[in-house]
């Protein structure tokens, strides 16, 4: 399962890219405390004010175009930048963690029960 969001900002892809990959910039919008080694295979730690902490590994990185992080819970997030006439289109796709197999089992149990 995936959640998708898209916004267009007036800044250039290079400017948006800095906000996506520099830890001190990420702390302004993504998480309270950020460590990120922004290169393929690099590790990231994201902490939020409520005590939540998530670890990630950079799966893909194409400067000013695409950043994909794999979360340690099995989920992932892909952020893509595309130049547009108004600035930059920012597209986010977050894929769900491990509950997908559980979901399939539950869906199966439920539809079997419904069919019975």
């Amino acid at each position: 399962m995936e959640v998708e969001r898209e916004i267009v900002v007036p800044e250039s892809p290079d400017e948006v890219w800095e906000a996506l990959t520099e830890p001190e910039r990420l702390e302004e919008w993504f998480a309270t405390e950020v460590e990120l080694d922004a290169r393929p295979g690099g590790e990231g730690v994201f902490r939020w004010g409520d005590g939540d902490e998530r670890h990630a590994v950079v799966r893909e990185l194409e400067e000013a175009e695409r950043l994909v992080l794999d979360w340690d819970d099995g989920g992932s997030v892909a952020i893509e930048l595309e130049p547009s006439v108004d600035g930059t289109r920012v597209r986010v796709v977050e894929a769900s963690p491990d509950f997908a197999p559980a979901l399939e089992l539950r869906a199966f149990a439920w539809t079997t029960a419904a069919a019975a």
Binding site: M1, E2, V3, E4, R5, I7, V9, P10, E11, E15, V16, A19, R25, E28, W29, F30, V90, V92, E94, S96, P97, F99, A102, L103, E104, R106, A107, F108, A109, W110, T111, T112, A114, A115
Partner: protein, 109 residues
């Protein structure tokens, strides 16, 4: 068994489309909704929304209740409770983050 397998296929086919997924999300966020209410906020016709809602109800993802001339939909508690909760929570988190990203980019200029 075959009925169950076809049921799963219907669930996943219904959710394989981004427009339908966002409709499930929109219904879940509101609690209940009609095609007219959803069409008012989406760039699609009431007829198109009604058709998608009907397909989602057929797949068992939404429950349909007649309310006068309209059909009111809500998300069925099973089989998608966890998935829908995740979708709504993650969607809300990204709405906030992207608003914050927009603000921080604007102040840097």
């Amino acid at each position: 068994m075959d009925d169950g397998r076809r049921g799963i296929d219907r669930v996943f086919a219904a959710l394989g489309d981004a427009g339908r997924r966002s409709l499930v999300e929109a219904v879940a966020t509101r609690g209940t909704a009609t095609a007219t209410e959803l069409a008012a906020e989406l760039p699609v016709t009431r007829q198109a929304v009604a058709k998608q809602l009907s397909a989602l109800a057929h797949a068992g993802l939404l429950r349909a209740t007649r309310a006068g001339r309209e059909t009111r939909y809500e998300v069925t508690p099973a089989p998608l409770e966890d998935a829908v909760e995740w979708m709504v929570a993650v969607g809300a988190a990204w709405d906030e983050r992207l608003a914050a990203l927009r603000r921080t980019l604007a102040t840097k200029m």
